[in-house]
Every structure is written in C-alpha cells, then in structure tokens.
C-alpha cells in the first residue's frame, strides 16, 4: 500500500517508534542509533528491537556509561554530516550530559552564526510507577523547554510517536524527544511508510465547547479519560495534546479558550516553572478577557518522587482529578463520577500485563 495515510492498521507506541527508526535507518545512511542497551536483547523496552540485526553494529551501537561525552560525540557527528539518535532509558540519566545539551547542542547553530546546525535527536524515556523513585521517575520537559535552541517533543499516540520521531531525525536542529513509559503498550492506528508529523503544532484530540484541557504526553490519556467522564455529566471538554513544548505554540489553545472560556493544563511534571504554568501565563496574557474562571493546573506536587506505592498513589493526578476540577470550575456536581472512574489497574503500573521490575 503506497499511501500510508489510508492505513488503519494499529501498532503499539513502542512498535511505532521502532518502525520510525527502521525507516530512518533504511532511508538515510547518515542516521545511526546509539545508547546504553540500544542493541541489547530488550532493545529499550522493544523500541530498538531487531534493528541491530538488520542494520549492523556500526549503525546500532551500544556505548560506555559515559553519557556526557557521548552527547558530545553525537553532537560532533551531527555537525559533521550525521543524524544520530541517542537514547537514554531514563531521562534522569541525561542530567550528566546537560552541559553538552544546553551549552553546546542547543546553541551550536546560533553561536557560530548559522554556519552549521546540529541535527541530533535525544530520545529519553520518562519513567513512572513500580517504585522507580526519586532518580528514575523525573519528567524534565520544562527544563529542556526553557532552553532556546532545543526542540522539545512529547508524543502521546503511536501515530505521533512515529511521525514526530521521523520529523525529529530529519530535522536540522537538536530535538529532545520524550517518551512516557506508560504509553509504550498503548495501541493506535499508524500510517505505513515515511509519514511525518510536523514538529511545532499541538493537536486537538477531542472537540468540545465547555472547557479546554491542554495536556502533555501521558496526561493527554488521562485528560481524554476525564473528558469521557465529563461527557457522562453533560460537559463537553476539548482536549489538546501540546506535543511540542519548544518552540511552544499556544495559539490553538488560545483559540479554543476563546470558545470554551475555561482552561485546565495537565502536565506530567512539577508545578514551579513548569510548562503548565507557562501555558496558563500565555493564555492569561493573550485571552484574558475570554476567561470566565482563573485557569487551573494539574501537575505533580513540588516534591521529589517517592518510591512506595502508598506514597505514589496520591502523588500522580488521575482522570478523576481533572474531571472533578473541571466540574468545579463549571459549577457542576461531580459526585456521580467517582464509581465510574475506579480503575481496574493498580495505580503504579501502566497496564495489567505489567509484572515489574521495570
């Protein structure tokens, strides 16, 4: 089938990423993958599985536990004609390489007056659940989004994972690509072939006129669930997946809020200086007179992430929290919602097939 867009086959998010990498490796010899465990038997939770067998160890590489230098290495190769994809199994590990990401990669094109760019991708997985704890569960998108020169992308569907990753790899600037571990087993339709989704635009994933819920990454899923709960009590929420946090285009959200007059922003990370606050600020600046209520944020509390599930259960906001907040903002009772929102899955695993320890 030539025209991928007509496809209605479904893939998991992990598989969609795998397919994007496969296509990029096959179509451009300058693309290579590198990262701890990239060619190992687990293949980064399946996302790189089979690729070393197909493309060989010169293009699908493991590496020393030297993430700082390796970020410099991929940057050096990028300014010299390659298109590297560096992968970290936890975003937390990338902190050792922030100097390279922030001082060097983000500024390379600019500080050399446009002489040369740095077309590299850093894929990083956001952990969560199963006691990942303080050093394996951070969600650092707002830190990256604060840095001019980086592009920051967070897909929430298999189709976006594939299409945005292809765009990221063939983008001429450094792209921080954040994948939420809890999305890995989610299935969805994915076009075949080299179908790219442009970086930089949010996506309206559900239309509604009563309230706008803008979300990042996995919180898009929770927001959609919230929208379903709200539909049961007659509230039509518009859900917008922000997808790209830098450069950050808030105009679609502004347009939506001009119609719904209400805004909730749901993010996977901390509140202080986070992307949720950024969007609240932008909408307050640009659509102030449209707002009937103060805009609200649903984020993690400003605390490191605890390990015990007794502590994480209340730590992560869920669909029901978003729905209740929306009800409150619109002056509607949400007391009928609780039962419907009970989840069959324990709160510290992505799905019922999950058996730990990762």
């Amino acid at each position: 089938m030539k025209d991928g867009r007509l496809s209605n086959r479904t893939l998991t998010y992990a598989h969609a990423i795998n397919e994007a990498l496969d296509i990029a490796l096959a179509s451009d010899p300058s693309v290579y993958l590198i990262g701890l465990g990239t060619p190992d038997p687990k293949g980064v939770f399946g996302s790189t599985k089979g690729l070393v067998e197909k493309f060989g160890t010169a293009r699908v590489l493991d590496m020393p536990v030297s993430e700082n230098a390796l970020t410099g290495v991929v940057l050096g190769s990028a300014i010299d004609g390659m298109r590297p994809v560096l992968t970290h199994q936890r975003v937390d590990f990338s902190l050792v390489s922030f100097e390279q990401i922030i001082n060097q990669a983000a500024k390379w094109r600019y500080m050399y007056g446009g002489n040369v760019g740095a077309p590299l991708v850093i894929r990083m997985i956001i952990g969560r659940g199963w006691g990942q704890g303080p050093q394996h569960s951070q969600s650092l998108q707002s830190v990256f989004a604060h840095i001019p020169g980086l592009k920051v992308v967070m897909p929430s569907t298999p189709a976006d994972a594939k299409g945005l990753l292809l765009s990221a790899i063939f983008d001429d600037d450094p792209v921080v690509f954040l994948e939420h571990r809890w999305l890995y087993n989610i299935e969805g339709p994915v076009p075949e072939g080299d179908e790219r989704v442009p970086i930089g635009q949010p996506r309206i994933v559900r239309s509604g006129n009563d309230i706008t819920i803008a979300a990042t990454s996995y919180m898009t899923i929770e927001s959609l669930r919230a929208a379903e709960l709200l539909a049961d009590i007659g509230i039509e929420a518009e859900v917008i997946d922000l997808r790209t946090l830098n450069p950050f285009d808030h105009q679609d959200v502004v347009k939506s809020v001009k119609r719904t007059n209400h805004l909730i922003v749901a993010d996977t990370s901390w509140r202080n200086c986070g992307i949720a606050g950024e969007l609240v600020a932008r909408v307050s600046e640009d659509a102030f007179s449209s707002l009937e209520q103060p805009p609200r944020r649903v984020t993690l509390p400003d605390a490191p992430v605890p390990t015990s599930r007794a502590l994480t259960d209340g730590f992560y906001p869920h669909a029901i929290d978003i729905a209740r907040l929306a009800g409150e903002m619109l002056g509607r009772s949400t007391s009928s919602l609780s039962a419907a929102a009970e989840s069959a899955v324990p709160l510290d695993v992505p799905d019922n097939n999950f058996r730990g320890p990762f």
Binding site: D40, P64, S66, V96, P306, T307, L311, D313
Partner: protein
C-alpha cells in the same frame, strides 16, 4: 583465622539467604520497586566490610543489598523499605535502590551509575578535614569506571590524599552489555586506576579470604596516610541485571559461562574451606542457617505487617522542618 572465616561465611550467607528470600517473595508483587540482586558477588561485600571498623563508612550504587548487610545495616528496615513500608530505612521514600543506615556507617546508595563515588570521596574529605582516623569505602561496578564522575573523584582524592577505598566489582557486564563496546580491549581496570595515580590491587572477587586480605592491606595503608586505593575484584552476577530471574537464555551470555562462574560460588567455597579445616562442624553451620532463617523470617513478617506511610508523607521531608 578460622573464626575470621566463620564470620566472613556468616556475612556472605546472610546476604545470600536474604536475597534468595527476596527473589522468592518478589513474584508476589508486593515489593514493587526495581531490585538488583548480588547473588554470586557476596564475597566482595563481606570481605571488604570485614576490613572496616564500625567508624568507617560505606556507600554504594544500585546493587547495594550486600554492602548494606555486610556493613551491619538493619535487615528488618531494609526489607520493610523494599515493601515500601513506613518502617523502612527510608520510610518508604527510597526502595531497594536507596538504602541507608547511619548507625552502622552505611551512608547511602543511589542508582545513578558512578554518582555516589564523588559523594563518598566527600565523606572522606570531611573526615580528613576534621582529622578523623576514618576511611570510606565505596562500591561500584565495572561500568561506573566509565563515568567521568569516577575519574574526577579519583583525581581529587589523590590531590588531597584522602582516606577512600574504591572497590570495583567487575562482573563483566553492564546490564546486558559486555566489555567490548565499553572499554578498550585488554586495558584492565586496575591499570587504568594506576594510570590515574591510585594504588591498586586486583584479585579473585569470589574468594572472601583473598578479598579481605586485599582490603586489609589497602585499609591499613590508607589509615597510615597512604592515600586512596582502588581494588579490582573479578566476579559474576548470577541473576538478571534487575529482577529475580535467571536470564542466561536471552542471549547476552552463555549458560556455560554462567555455570563456570557458579562453580566458583563464593559461599560454597568458604563453606568447603570451613568444613575442610574441620574447625567448625556441619552442625554449627546448620545452626547458623537456622539462625539466619529465623532472622529473615522475622524481617519479612515484620515488613509485611508494618503500615504503609500515610499519603501526606509524600510531601514531607523535602526540606528540613
């Protein structure tokens, strides 16, 4: 000497039996955190900690159960921590990857590879500043040596001649990755450390007596103002990188390699030596098994019975009260 070996054996056996029990119970899905087992590597923890005094300090990384226990860390609080209970050594905030027991001098473990090495050096720096006759031992794997944190730490420890013992457990792998894509072929870990300027020794990490001997030699020299040492011990992890299963089937290593290493089991080796030396009877060893078993039973039942922390505690201890 035999009494010493009995103690070393007991220390190793405790680690082995505790980890076996964790592995067994882990499948119940009640210890909900990543767990890195050290079965097969016990001799290094036990041998090195036997060379330390109670005032000395220990730090570790992701694979820290053995180091915690060998230094005398509270078993019940460790198990409770794995269950995420309020009685855990981190009150449930840490899990298996963040053990601490200040009473015995186990200052902390954290799972970012290489990252506790400079922190351990900092504790040696504090001791040195205060002119305390104390040393800090820090345990890490063969991959941690690849991190700039290790290198910079070694350099700083040398500049200030700090009382720190770097203990590298070379188990051949970093997760599923062998040495080849990580370190230059044939350039050994202790050669590297010596190049940086550290005093080094290299030995069989599955022989607890040898491990202890190396550690004593190094610790004595450090205490005498000899500066930092690097000990390289060869060993092997029996279970998967993270989790309670065997994974020799998934393709990154062979069953034969595993079998060869299992034959060098540090616990059995010490047991045979003890029995051969005839200084301890099988009956005494059986009693030791029963004693440890009771202790472990107790730790697990305490942990299971203990309360979870209250949800509001997630927002506490971010800052000093």
């Amino acid at each position: 000497m035999t009494a010493a070996l009995t103690n070393l054996y007991r220390s190793m056996l405790l680690i082995r039996r505790v980890e076996e029990r964790i592995a067994e119970e882990y499948t119940q899905q009640e210890m909900r955190c990543p767990v890195h087992f050290c079965i097969g590597q016990e001799a290094i923890a036990s041998g090195v900690c036997a060379a330390l005094s109670p005032d000395d300090k220990v730090m570790s990384g992701h694979r820290s159960h053995g180091h915690y226990l060998a230094k005398g860390g509270n078993l019940a609080r460790m198990i409770a921590e794995l269950y995420g209970k309020a009685t855990g050594c981190c009150s449930g905030k840490g899990g298996s990857m963040h053990l601490i027991d200040l009473e015995c001098g186990f200052l902390g473990a954290a799972p970012i590879v290489g990252s506790t090495i400079p922190i351990a050096v900092g504790t040696a720096f504090a001791a040195h500043s205060r002119k305390e006759a104390r040393i800090t031992a820090v345990f890490f794997g063969d991959a941690a040596v690849e991190s700039g944190a290790f290198y910079e730490s070694a350099n700083f420890a040398l500049v200030h001649n700090l009382p720190v013992l770097f203990v590298c457990e070379d188990n051949l792998y970093s997760v599923y990755t062998p040495m080849a894509p990580r370190q230059p072929n044939g350039r050994g870990l202790s050669e590297l450390a010596a190049g940086i300027g550290l005093k080094t020794a290299k030995a069989d990490g599955n022989d607890v007596t040898i491990v202890k001997k190396c550690a004593v030699q190094a610790a004595d020299d450090i205490r005498a103002g000899g500066g930092p040492w690097f000990l390289e011990f060869s060993t092997y992890r029996w279970l998967e990188h993270c989790g309670p299963q065997y994974d020799n089937d998934i393709g990154y290593r062979t069953q034969a390699e595993f079998e060869a290493w299992r034959a060098k089991c540090p616990v059995s080796r010490a047991r045979s030596q003890l029995l051969k030396s005839a200084a301890i009877e099988k009956g005494a060893l059986d009693a030791m098994e029963r004693e440890l078993s009771a202790m472990i039973d107790d730790a697990f039942s305490q942990a299971k019975a203990a309360p979870f922390p209250a949800p509001k505690e997630a927002l506490e201890q971010i800052y000093a009260a």
